[in-house]
C-alpha cells in the first residue's frame, strides 16, 4: 500500500502534465467554433472573516488561433483593498512542453486610473507572451488578499464568445456559520457542500461546455449564458460593517456611509433660503435648487478606497464646487433638505448598454448615483453630474430601468421614467429648392423630443462652435454640402425638446444627365440599415429603440421639367414598425412625406426573415429617385 502511494505521487504530476496541457488532446467538440479552450479554471475563494478573503486562481487556456490571443495577454488588477500575494504565468507549446515561466517581478506595473476619473487607486500588472505558433497554452496562477469585501465575482464557466470550457470549478470556503449567497442563472448548477472542521466548503464544477456565440441585436451574454451569482452576507470595509442579504440591510449600510455627510456651510444655507423661501410650489423649489447645483458644480471623479462607495461630504462639494455622482447627489439632497424637501439617494446602472438590476439577488449593483424627489404619485428625477440636463429627464443614460432608492429604511427597487415612440420624436419640415444646375438650397427645421433630442442637446452645450460645425458638415449623406447657418433652441422639461434650424446648400445635389434630372426627395433622413440574410439565426432579435420620425419636404424644381419616373408610395404597417413614404410631383414642386415609427420589441428567430425584408423595403424607399425630364 505504501509503495503504491509513492509510485502514484511520482507519476501523477508527469501524467497530469501531459494530459492537461497537450493541445492535441482537446476533443473536437470543444474545438468547434472556438478560438480558445479553457482547459482548467479554478477559482477558490476563502472567506476568512467578513473583512478578509483569500482568492486563489488557477487558469489554463489553450489558444487555437489569433482571434484567441487576447487570452494570452494577462492583466491582473489591484487597489487599496486588493493586494496580489503572488502571480505567475507559464507558456506551453502545442504538446504541453513548458517554454517560459514568468513571475510577478517580471510583469509590468501600470496605473489603471479610469479615463473618466481624475484619480482612483486601481493599478494592474500585465504580461503578454506574444506567442504565435498555434495552438499554444498559457497558464496563470494567482493569489490575492482582499481586505474589505464589497462583493464577489460570480462563476462564469464560459469565459466569452467562441471559447469552450473543458473544466471549470468554483470553490467557496467559509466559516461554518457564514451565510454564503448564490443564485444560478440560465442553468441549474448547484454546489456540493462539505464540512471540514469549522469550515463549510461549496464546490461548483462543470466539464466540456462547447463554445457559443452571440448574434447582433440578440440577447446579451448574461441573458443566455450559464452563470452563478455570488454575494457576501456579512461584510466589512474600512471599519464599516454591513450585511447585504436583503435590500433592507444593504440600503441601511449605504445609508450609514452617508451619515453626517450632509452638513452645509452657512453661506450655502443662506443661498438655499434666498432661492426657495419665496417659492410656494415645492416643484419650483426643486427646480431652483437643481439650477443652483448645475450652475455651481461640475463632475470630477476621485475614487479612493471606500470612496468608491462613500460620497464626499456636502461641505467638500460646496467649497470645491465639484464631486462625483455620489458626492453631487448627496450635496443635492442636502440642499433640498435645507429647503424642507426630502430627496432620495438612488443607485443605478447608467448608460445605454447598462446591465439590468437583478432584483431578487441583493448585492452591490450599479455604477452611478442619481437623486430623486418623490412628490405623491410623481417623482422628480435628478441627474446631478450634468450641468445642462432638464430636471426630471433621465433619457438614454438612466431612463427606463430599475434602480435602488436608498433611505434609512433600506434599499427599495424603483423604476425610472421610460420613453416610448410617442415621447421620442423628430419632426422635420424642409423647404428646399433645386435649380437648373441641380444645386440644392434647403431650410431645415426640426423639433427633437426625448431621446432623439440628446444629440442636438449635446451640440448645443457640449460641443464648441467649431466642433458643431465640423459635426454638421459631416452628418448628411449629401455629395458635397455646407451648413451655412445653424441655430438651436431648447425647451426644458421632463420631456425636453430641442428646435434645430439649419440652412444647407449642396451643389450638384440632383444629378443631371443630358435632359434628365435625378432627385432623391428624401434629403436628410435615409435609413442605411440593412440586415444581412441569416438562415441560422438562433436568438431573438431585440429592437431596443422606440421613436417616431416625420419628415415633410417641399422641393421647388426648375421650370420646364415633367416627371418621367416617380417612385411608388410605400406603406408598411407591420409588427416590425410603421413606415410611410409618399411623393407627389407637381408642375413646380415635389412634395415628399415620410414617417417611421418603431416600438421596443423582441422578435423570435422565425421573424428574422421578415425583418430583413422590412429593412430592405425601407432602404429602397429611402433611396428612390424621381426622374424628371425636360419638356421638348
Amino acid at each position: 500500500m505504501r509503495i503504491l502511494i509513492v509510485i502514484l505521487t511520482l507519476t501523477i504530476p508527469g501524467c497530469l502534465f501531459a494530459q492537461s496541457y497537450n493541445a492535441l488532446l482537446i476533443p473536437d467538440s470543444l474545438k468547434k467554433d472556438a478560438r480558445a479552450v479553457v482547459r482548467e479554471d479554478e477559482h477558490i475563494l476563502e472567506i476568512k472573516s467578513p473583512s478578509k478573503v483569500i482568492l486563489k486562481e488557477h487558469r489554463f487556456y489553450t489558444i487555437l488561433n489569433e482571434d484567441g490571443d487576447y487570452l494570452g495577454d494577462f492583466a491582473t488588477f489591484y487597489d487599496k483593498h486588493t493586494s496580489i500575494n503572488s502571480v505567475t504565468m507559464t507558456l506551453y507549446d502545442a504538446t504541453g512542453k513548458e517554454l517560459k515561466h514568468v513571475k510577478k517581478k517580471d510583469m509590468e506595473d501600470k496605473s489603471a486610473v479610469s479615463e473618466i476619473s481624475l484619480m482612483d487607486d486601481s493599478r494592474y500588472k500585465e504580461y503578454n507572451f506574444y506567442y504565435k505558433l498555434y495552438p499554444y497554452t498559457v497558464g496563470y496562477e494567482e493569489e490575492d488578499e482582499i481586505s474589505g469585501i464589497q462583493g464577489f465575482h460570480g462563476w462564469q464557466p464560459l469565459a466569452s464568445t467562441k471559447v469552450s470550457t473543458q473544466h471549470s470549478k468554483y470553490v467557496i470556503i467559509a466559516p461554518k456559520d457564514y451565510v454564503v449567497r448564490y443564485k444560478a442563472v440560465n442553468c441549474n448548477y448547484e454546489p456540493v457542500i462539505t464540512i471540514s472542521g469549522d469550515k463549510k466548503i461549496y464546490t461548483w464544477e462543470v466539464s466540456n461546455l462547447p463554445a457559443r456565440t452571440l448574434e447582433s441585436h440578440g440577447p446579451r451574454w448574461n441573458e443566455v449564458m450559464p452563470h452563478v451569482l455570488m454575494a457576501p452576507s456579512d461584510f466589512e470595509v474600512e471599519g464599516y460593517k454591513g450585511n447585504m442579504s436583503t435590500w433592507e440591510d444593504y440600503g441601511k449600510f449605504i445609508n450609514q456611509l452617508r451619515q453626517g455627510r450632509d452638513a452645509l456651510p452657512e453661506d450655502i444655507k443662506r443661498k438655499v433660503h434666498e432661492l426657495t423661501d419665496n417659492l410656494k410650489d415645492p416643484r419650483e423649489k426643486v427646480y431652483a435648487l437643481y439650477d443652483f447645483l448645475q450652475k455651481n458644480t461640475h463632475y470630477i471623479s476621485i475614487q479612493l478606497g471606500i470612496g468608491g462607495w462613500q460620497p464626499f461630504p456636502a461641505d467638500y462639494v460646496a467649497t470645491k464646487r465639484y464631486g462625483d455622482c455620489k458626492a453631487l447627489s448627496n450635496y443635492m439632497i442636502a440642499l433640498l433638505r435645507e429647503a424642507g424637501i426630502t430627496g432620495k439617494y438612488v443607485e443605478i446602472f447608467a448608460g445605454e448598454e447598462a446591465p439590468k438590476l437583478i432584483e431578487d439577488f441583493p448585492c452591490s449593483q450599479g455604477n452611478h448615483v442619481i437623486s430623486c424627489v418623490p412628490m405623491g404619485k410623481d417623482t422628480i428625477w435628478l441627474e446631478c453630474t450634468n450641468q445642462t440636463k432638464s430636471p426630471g429627464y433621465m433619457g438614454s443614460f438612466t431612463g427606463d430601468r430599475k434602480a435602488l432608492l436608498i433611505d434609512e429604511t433600506g434599499a427599495h427597487v424603483v423604476s425610472t421614467p421610460s420613453y416610448t415612440a410617442r415621447d421620442n420624436t423628430a419632426v422635420r419640415v424642409v423647404n428646399a429648392s433645386i435649380n437648373g444646375e441641380g444645386n440644392l438650397d434647403a431650410e431645415v427645421s426640426t423639433i427633437y423630443r426625448g431621446i432623439p433630442q440628446e444629440g442636438p442637446h449635446g451640440l448645443m452645450y457640449g460641443a464648441s462652435d467649431e466642433q458643431r460645425e465640423k459635426y454638421l458638415n459631416s452628418l448628411f449623406h449629401l455629395p458635397t454640402y455646407k451648413v451655412e447657418k445653424s441655430h438651436y433652441d431648447e425647451e426644458k422639461g421632463a420631456l425636453p425638446a430641442v428646435k434645430e434650424y439649419l440652412h444647407v446648400v449642396s451643389p450638384n445635389y440632383a444629378n443631371i444627365t443630358g435632359k434628365r434630372l435625378f432627385i432623391n426627395p428624401n434629403l436628410f433622413n435615409r435609413s442605411n440599415y440593412r440586415l444581412p440574410k441569416d438562415s441560422t439565426r438562433q436568438y431573438d432579435y431585440i429592437d431596443d429603440e422606440a421613436f417616431r420620425n416625420i419628415d415633410s419636404i417641399t422641393i421647388n424644381i426648375p421650370a420646364g421639367y415633367q416627371p418621367e419616373a416617380v417612385p411608388q408610395d410605400t406603406h408598411i404597417d407591420s409588427k416590425f414598425g410603421k413606415f410611410t413614404a409618399s411623393v407627389k410631383v407637381m408642375p413646380d414642386k415635389i412634395l415628399f412625406y415620410r414617417s417611421w415609427e418603431e416600438s421596443m420589441a423582441r422578435f423570435p428567430p422565425s421573424d428574422y426573415e421578415g425583418l430583413v425584408k422590412f429593412y430592405e423595403q425601407l432602404y429602397k424607399a429611402d433611396h428612390n429617385r424621381i426622374v424628371l425630364v425636360k419638356k421638348e
Binding site: S111, S464, T480, T513, V627
Partner: protein
C-alpha cells in the same frame, strides 16, 4: 558680492533698453484685480471656451549636489474660463519622466482659483491633499489636480518649478495649444558651457529678443562619499534669450493631416556640445557619421549586426535552400521574420533584447524584428542596412542636425544588383518591398557608418493603382442586366481587404460589397484572389445582376457601386496643408451589350478635367455603337500633399468627380 551686484545692475540697465522695445508679461502671478476679469473671447478665436491670458516660462541651469547641473524650468500660466465647455482647461496634468534618482521633479506647485463675487476678488487655494500623483509606469508619473471653486468666468493660475536631470533637450516650448493664448513667453538662459541648436516650426511667427548676457557663478557640490563634499564654483557668461508671441489662435486639427505636432508653433533646443575651462569640448550632437557609428556600436541597436551570429546558420541554410536568386533568398528571409515573429510594441527605435534572445522568444518591438532581419540578410551575404525614421504621428525628422531623439522607427534597406528595396518585417500584412503608410514622413537616414545617406519617403511618391473591369452580356435567362466584376485593388486597399477578411471572414466582406449596391442589385459567385499572397494585390470577383420586372425605362449608373458618392473634402475652408496617404490612379472600365429589347435613350457626356495642369486628371469616356457601350473612368492624382491654397481646387475637383460619377445611362424599351 557688491561688485557682482553692480555688474548685474548695469546689465539690467543695458537690457531694459532692449526690453523696452520688447513684449512684456501682461500679468504677474498672484496679482489679480477685478479688471482682470474683463477678458472675453479674442477676435481671432471668437468661439473660445477658455483663454490663456499668460503662459510664461523660463529655463535655466543651476549647479546641483551631484557635481553637475540641473535644469530649472519655471512655469506660470493664467487661464480665464469663459464658459462651462472650458472647464476641461482647469484639470492639469504634468508628466514627470525618469526615476526617483535621475529624472524630473516638481517643486513649489501653487494654484489658485479667483472668482469675482459682488465686485470683489475671492481666491480659493488648491490644497495639497487635492494634488495627486499617478504612477503610470516605471518611468512616468503624472501630477494631477483640478482647480477648486470653478465656475464660468473664473480665473485660474498656477506656477511650479520642474527640475530636470535631462538636458540633451532643454525643455521645448509650444506657443500654440488647444486654447487661444494672449501672451506666451519663454526665457532661456544658457551658460556658454553648453551650446544648443535651436529648432523652430509652425505657421505663426514669434519674436526673439536680442540676447543679453551676464556673468553667473555656479555652485556644484561634488559628493565626497565618506569624505567631505567638495564645492566647486564655476563662473561663466550666461546668455538669456526671450521668445514671445502674442494673440495666438488655438490649434484646430483638420482631416487629412498626418500629425498635428508638425504644425503647432513651437521651439526646441538640442544640446550640440559642452566645453568647460581646462577640458576638451565634448561633442554631444556630432554628425550623421558619428551618429551612425554610435548606433552600430550600441548594444541596443546595431552591435549584434556585425557579429558572427553563427546561431542562425541552420535557419539561414534552411531558408536559402532552393532559392533561385539572391532576391529570392531575401524574400524568403523576409517572409520568415514577418510570419514567425510577433511585434509587441510600437514606435521603437531601440531593441529590447539582444537579437539572439529575440530569435528565441519569437517576439520583439519593431527595432528587434527589423534589426534581426538585417542580421539575417547580412548573414546570408546580402547587402542590408537599417534605416531610421520618424513615423507620421511622431512628426518630422531634421535632415541637417543628427537629432536621434526625433526618430522612433527602424526599417531595412536592401540592395540587390542595382535595385533597392525597403522592408518592414514587423507588420504581418506588409508585402516585400512595401512600407506601412505611416513611414512615409519625409527624411529618413540609412544607418551605415561609411555612407549615412538620407532617404526621403514621400507620400507623393506612392502611387496606388487599382483597376476594375466589368462585362455585361445578354445571356438568355440571365435577366435584364447581368455581368461580371473583376476588381484588382491597390496595395493599400488590398491590405484593408485582407484585414477585413481576417477579422470577419470572406462572407462578411461580400455582405459589405452587396450593401454598397442599390437594393435591386444582387451579387453572386464571389471570390477573392491572392488573399494569402501578401506581396501581390488582391482581386475581387463576382457576378452582378439587376432584379427587374422589365420596366419601360431603366436607369443605370455605369460606375455601378464604385465611384465617389461624397466629397472627401467636406470642410469649406482649410488652414494647414492637405496630406493624403498617397497619390493614386483608379481606373474603372465597363463593357456592355445593350439589353435585349431596349435602346439607349440618353448617355452621359464624355469629359476630361485636369488638376493643376499636370498634377492629376479625371477622365470619363463613354461611347456607344450598335453592339454596346464602352465606358471608362479614370482618376489620377500624382501627389499626396497639397498646399492650403490648393484646397479649393482639390475640393472642386472631387465635387466634379462626385457629380460626374453619379450620372446615369437611360435605357428605353423598344416600341
Amino acid at each position: 558680492m557688491t561688485a557682482q551686484r553692480t555688474t548685474t545692475l548695469m546689465l539690467c540697465l543695458l537690457l531694459s533698453a532692449f526690453l523696452h522695445a520688447q513684449d512684456k508679461p501682461p500679468v504677474k502671478f498672484g496679482k489679480i484685480s477685478p479688471a482682470d476679469f474683463d477678458v472675453k473671447a479674442p477676435s481671432y478665436d471668437t468661439a473660445a471656451e477658455a483663454v490663456v491670458v499668460a503662459d510664461i516660462a523660463s529655463s535655466e541651469f543651476v549647479g546641483n549636489v551631484k557635481g553637475w547641473f540641473t535644469l530649472e524650468f519655471k512655469h506660470f500660466k493664467r487661464i480665464k474660463i469663459l464658459n462651462k465647455k472650458g472647464f476641461d482647461a482647469a484639470t492639469i496634468e504634468i508628466p514627470l519622466f525618469g526615476t526617483n534618482s535621475y529624472g524630473q521633479r516638481l517643486e513649489g506647485l501653487k494654484a489658485y482659483t479667483y472668482n469675482l463675487e459682488n465686485g470683489k476678488v475671492v481666491e480659493t487655494k488648491l490644497d495639497d491633499k487635492s494634488i495627486f500623483v499617478d504612477k503610470v509606469n516605471k518611468y512616468l508619473s503624472q501630477k494631477k489636480f483640478t482647480f477648486p471653486a470653478l465656475k464660468e468666468g473664473s480665473i485660474i493660475e498656477y506656477t511650479y518649478t520642474l527640475e530636470s536631470d535631462f538636458f540633451n533637450n532643454l525643455r521645448p516650448w509650444a506657443f500654440q495649444g488647444i486654447y487661444p493664448c494672449m501672451y506666451s513667453e519663454y526665457n532661456v538662459s544658457i551658460p556658454n558651457f553648453f551650446q544648443y541648436v535651436t529648432l523652430t516650426q509652425g505657421f505663426l511667427p514669434f519674436k526673439r529678443s536680442a540676447p543679453s548676457s551676464r556673468s553667473v557663478t555656479f555652485h556644484l557640490t561634488i559628493p565626497g562619499g565618506a569624505d567631505r563634499d567638495e564645492t566647486r564654483n564655476i563662473t561663466d557668461e550666461v546668455v538669456e534669450t526671450k521668445y514671445t508671441m502674442k494673440d495666438i489662435p488655438s490649434f484646430k486639427a483638420e482631416r487629412y493631416t498626418t500629425s498635428a505636432s508638425n504644425y503647432i508653433s513651437k521651439i526646441e533646443f538640442q544640446l550640440a556640445r559642452y566645453s568647460f575651462p581646462n577640458s576638451m569640448p565634448k561633442d554631444k550632437m556630432g554628425n550623421w557619421f558619428s551618429l551612425c557609428q554610435g548606433l552600430m556600436k550600441d548594444e541596443d541597436f546595431g552591435a549584434d549586426l556585425n557579429s558572427n551570429n553563427g546561431w542562425m546558420d541552420d535557419e539561414i541554410k534552411n531558408l536559402a535552400r532552393g532559392a533561385a536568386s539572391p532576391l529570392d533568398q531575401a524574400k524568403k528571409i523576409y517572409a520568415y521574420v514577418r510570419d514567425n515573429f510577433t511585434c509587441t510594441s510600437h514606435g521603437a527605435l531601440y531593441t529590447s533584447n539582444p537579437i539572439k534572445t529575440v530569435f528565441k522568444n519569437r517576439n520583439g518591438n519593431e527595432a528587434d524584428l527589423n534589426l534581426l532581419l538585417v542580421a539575417m540578410l547580412k548573414h546570408d551575404h546580402l547587402n542590408a542596412d537599417p534605416v531610421i525614421l520618424s513615423t507620421r504621428s511622431n512628426g518630422f525628422t531634421n535632415e541637417i542636425y543628427p537629432l536621434i531623439s526625433r526618430f522612433n522607427y527602424v526599417v531595412v534597406k536592401l540592395d540587390i544588383d542595382s535595385s533597392t528595396y525597403y522592408l518592414d518585417a514587423s507588420q504581418p500584412w506588409e508585402g516585400f518591398g512595401h512600407l506601412p503608410q505611416y513611414c512615409y514622413n519625409g527624411h529618413a537616414r540609412v544607418v551605415n557608418p561609411d555612407s549615412p545617406q538620407p532617404v526621403y519617403f514621400e507620400a507623393d511618391s506612392l502611387r496606388e493603382k487599382s483597376m476594375t473591369t466589368v462585362f455585361f452580356s445578354n445571356e438568355a435567362g440571365k435577366g435584364l442586366l447581368s455581368g461580371r466584376v473583376v476588381s484588382t485593388k491597390s496595395y493599400i486597399e488590398s491590405s484593408d481587404i485582407r484585414e477585413k477578411v481576417r477579422d470577419k471572414g470572406e462572407k462578411e466582406f461580400f455582405k459589405g460589397v452587396q450593401t454598397a449596391y442599390p437594393a435591386e442589385w444582387e451579387i453572386s459567385n464571389s471570390s477573392i484572389d491572392s488573399l494569402k499572397m501578401i506581396d501581390d494585390p488582391v482581386t475581387v470577383n463576382y457576378d452582378v445582376k439587376l432584379k427587374s420586372d422589365g420596366e419601360d425605362i431603366v436607369y443605370f449608373n455605369p460606375m455601378m457601386s464604385d465611384g465617389y458618392k461624397e466629397n472627401p473634402f467636406k470642410a469649406a475652408e482649410r488652414v494647414y496643408p492637405v496630406e493624403m496617404p498617397c497619390g493614386f490612379d483608379e481606373t474603372f472600365v465597363l463593357n456592355m451589350e445593350i439589353p435585349d429589347g431596349y435602346v439607349v435613350d440618353e448617355l452621359p457626356k464624355s469629359t476630361k478635367v485636369t488638376f493643376n495642369e499636370d498634377e492629376g486628371f479625371f477622365e470619363y469616356l463613354i461611347a456607344k455603337d450598335d453592339n454596346g457601350i464602352q465606358f471608362r473612368s479614370r482618376i489620377q492624382l500624382k501627389k499626396a500633399n497639397f498646399k492650403p491654397e490648393d484646397y479649393g481646387t482639390l475640393r472642386d475637383f472631387f465635387a466634379f468627380v462626385v457629380k460626374k460619377q453619379s450620372e446615369q445611362i437611360v435605357f428605353k424599351k423598344k416600341k
